[in-house]
């Protein structure tokens, strides 16, 4: 196994798939000569040329529209929208076009595009570069949304995303890009809709995804020393969602904490809590707890940002509260 940074795992996945399919291209600002705003596409411009690694103007509607138009006429596309905040600039194309075509045209059109976008704060980037907007995508039928937390998952899920005949929102996190992890040299893919238990446990289930997986694991290993056994379930894929894994874990522990960086109110955690309440109510031994950002715009300076975003202490508190029952 090689040790790779999360960003390089995505880079590898794209390169491998681009080599297989001449009609697959990458489009976005900075993806070409600059190598990607976060260096996700480094070396690709030299390998595949400007037509397949397309530096675009800062025209998000145009970028996604280009990807869609190409995808419905025999190509596949990966579009890079470096900050999820900028998804607001092209949600019309994503929601009203990409997500609708297969249904609206009764199967005449498939839209095999991947829209890659980073969520997340903790880098003092302020109100318009720090939001975690993944919940927005999960409310749109026709879209699939994945949010890998490790290099291994990022590579496997990116390959699946590229092969999928539907529009996929591939949610990365700025705080994950430089994180290293083991990635097999042999080809592999990870199916959508399959959660991964990142740490087995028996006392309480913690459901999370993206960067919060790591913060949760850190808290879990701290509590382990006190003899508290936390099961950390990385959802990896928000739609399709691995309901079975969620329900199985709750059945085992009887207690559930849901953690994400997006604001608690209106966040995807509400959906998970509702599923548990609806389908595993009898297994519950304590109320469900959610951990997320406070209801606020995100400020730039860390002293304020850290107050609003969920931290390890918030996760720990929630776990302890649930364990008390």
């Amino acid at each position: 196994m090689a040790t790779l940074m999360y960003r390089d795992a995505i880079n590898q996945a794209m390169i491998e798939e681009m080599k297989k399919d001449d009609n697959l291209f990458l489009i976005g600002y900075d993806v070409g000569k600059y190598g990607g705003e976060f260096q996700l596409s480094h070396d690709m411009y030299n390998m595949f040329g400007e037509l397949r690694v397309r530096d675009a103007p800062i025209s998000e509607q145009g970028i996604i529209g280009c990807a869609i138009g190409a995808a419905i006429t025999g190509c596949r596309a990966v579009a890079d929208i470096p900050f999820s905040d900028f998804m607001a600039m092209c949600m019309d194309q994503v929601v009203n076009q990409a997500a609708k075509f297969h249904y609206m045209f009764a199967g005449q059109a498939k839209v095999p595009i991947v829209v890659m976008t980073a969520i997340g704060g903790f880098i003092q980037a302020g109100p318009q570069h720090s939001q975690s907007l993944e919940g927005w995508f999960t409310g749109i039928p026709g879209l699939k949304t994945v949010a890998p937390a490790t290099a291994y998952d990022a590579k496997g899920l990116m390959k699946t995303a590229i092969a999928d005949p539907n529009p996929v929102i591939f949610v990365t996190h700025k705080g994950l890009y430089a994180m290293k992890g083991e990635v097999p040299e042999k080809e592999y893919t990870i199916p959508f809709g399959v959660a991964d238990v990142k740490k087995k446990g028996k006392d309480v289930s913690l459901f999370t995804y993206s960067l919060m997986v790591h913060k949760s694991l850190s808290v879990a290993s701290k509590l382990e020393k006190e003899g508290i056994s936390v099961e950390v379930v990385d959802l990896r894929s928000l739609y399709p969602l691995d309901k079975k894994a969620i329900l199985a874990s709750v059945k085992k522990t009887g207690k559930a904490v849901i953690v994400h960086e997006a604001p608690t109110t209106g966040g995807f955690g509400g959906e998970i809590a509702a599923i548990i309440a609806d389908e595993a109510f009898k297994d519950l031994k304590a109320p469900i707890k959610r951990v997320g950002a406070k209801w606020s715009v995100l400020p730039f300076v860390s002293a304020l940002e850290n107050e609003i975003l969920p931290g390890e202490d918030d996760i720990e508190q929630a776990l302890r509260a649930v364990l008390k029952g």
């Binding site: 009609n23 291209f25 037509l51 397949r52 397309r54 675009a56 103007p57 025209s59 509607q61 145009g62 996604i64 529209g65 280009c66 990807a67 869609i68 138009g69 190409a70 995808a71 419905i72 006429t73 025999g74 190509c75 019309d92 194309q93 009203n96 076009q97 609708k100 075509f101 297969h102 249904y103 609206m104 045209f105 009764a106 199967g107 005449q108 059109a109 498939k110 839209v111 039928p141 026709g142 699939k144 005949p165 539907n166």
Partner: protein, 324 residues
């Protein structure tokens, strides 16, 4: 309008018949929609027939078009099947989109119609993307985006034409300028309404401002633009001045005065063409009548097909949300 003297008669007849197919289909649509036979909304293209007819006579079956909420004429001009169209308007199983699209989103990918579109201005980036695909796949196809003067003030207009121009994409942007966007006169919100084609200068591409009710002028301009695109020399912007003879959607109120609409009727594309054809001795009154009857029969057949087609069932409601 120029005389048709010396013009290819077969081509003229094709233009005339093409426009008539649309007109008769739409007049029927107005009638049955107003009679309450269909659900939803319908936006009629009566008065704008010359534009897609003139453009699409230059296209091949595998060329692409994107269309708008007012899109029946695009579909018919590109060779859409009247039966399946009508069945879709009736929400039947045999319709193009099995009752999912109705009038607003009708599509036939087998003839390159990449969908009518309910979002004003969204066809432009999609046509640009189809042109990108043509370039990537190295075929000789062309994409055409039909849009209105309303869409010309959306950001997608700028983004798409700029990108298409930057990369010399094989796409033609065809503005059907009927001078009214929903209920707003475009002249009230756009200083250079009649010269939208001049915006091409800003993108470094050719632009034309033409009479969109003169099918011959549309045909000739589109020919130049499409040939340029096919040669790989890049996009063209065509601004075609036309007339929307009906309100925004069928049954809607109209902000325009009766006099305004009446004046526009004087510029009717089809009666104008008939006059020129008669003058040039290319058709007789009798032949006009016979042509109309022949097309009316096709529309009647489509209507019968739609009415007799099976209705969609609730068991199909969740089909096609995702592709397998």
């Amino acid at each position: 309008m120029k005389s048709l003297q010396g013009y290819d008669k077969n081509l003229v007849l094709k233009m005339y018949e093409g426009m008539l197919r649309i007109r008769i289909f739409e007049e029927n649509q107005s009638k049955v929609f107003r009679a309450g036979e269909q659900e939803g909304f319908t936006h009629l293209s009566i008065g704008q027939e010359a534009i897609p007819t003139g453009v699409c006579l230059n296209l091949n079956k595998d060329d692409y078009i994107t269309s708008t909420h007012r899109g029946h004429h695009h579909m018919i001009a590109k060779g859409g099947d009247l039966n399946r169209m009508m069945a879709e308007l009736y929400g039947r199983k045999t319709g193009y989109c099995m009752g999912r699209s109705g009038s607003l989103h009708i599509a036939d990918f087998s003839i390159g119609v990449l969908g009518a579109n309910g979002i004003v201005g969204d066809g432009n980036p999609i046509a640009m993307g189809a042109a990108y695909s043509i370039k990537l796949r190295k075929t000789k196809q062309v994409a055409v985006s039909f849009f209105g003067d309303g869409a010309s003030n959306q950001g997608t207009f700028h983004e798409s034409i700029n990108m298409a121009a930057a990369w010399d994409l094989p796409v033609v942007f065809v503005c059907e300028n009927n001078m009214v966007a929903c209920g707003v006169r475009t002249a009230d919100v756009c200083k250079a309404l009649k010269n939208i084609g001049d915006r091409a200068i800003g993108y470094g591409i050719p632009g034309f401002n033409i009479d969109g009710n003169d099918v011959v002028e549309v045909y000739e301009t589109a020919k130049t633009a499409i040939e340029r695109a096919r040669r790989g020399e890049g996009p063209t912007l065509m601004n075609c001045m036309t007339t929307r003879q009906h309100p925004h959607w069928e049954g809607d109120k109209d902000v325009r005065t009766k006099e305004e609409v009446q004046e526009q009727l004087q510029r009717d594309a089809i009666t104008g063409m008939e006059k020129r054809m008669l003058e040039a001795g290319m058709i007789s009154e009798q032949e006009i009548k016979a042509t109309k009857e022949r097309i009316q029969k096709l529309v009647d057949e489509a209507l019968e097909f739609a009415r007799k087609s099976p209705k969609v069932g609730r068991e199909d409601a969740l089909k096609f949300v995702y592709a397998e």
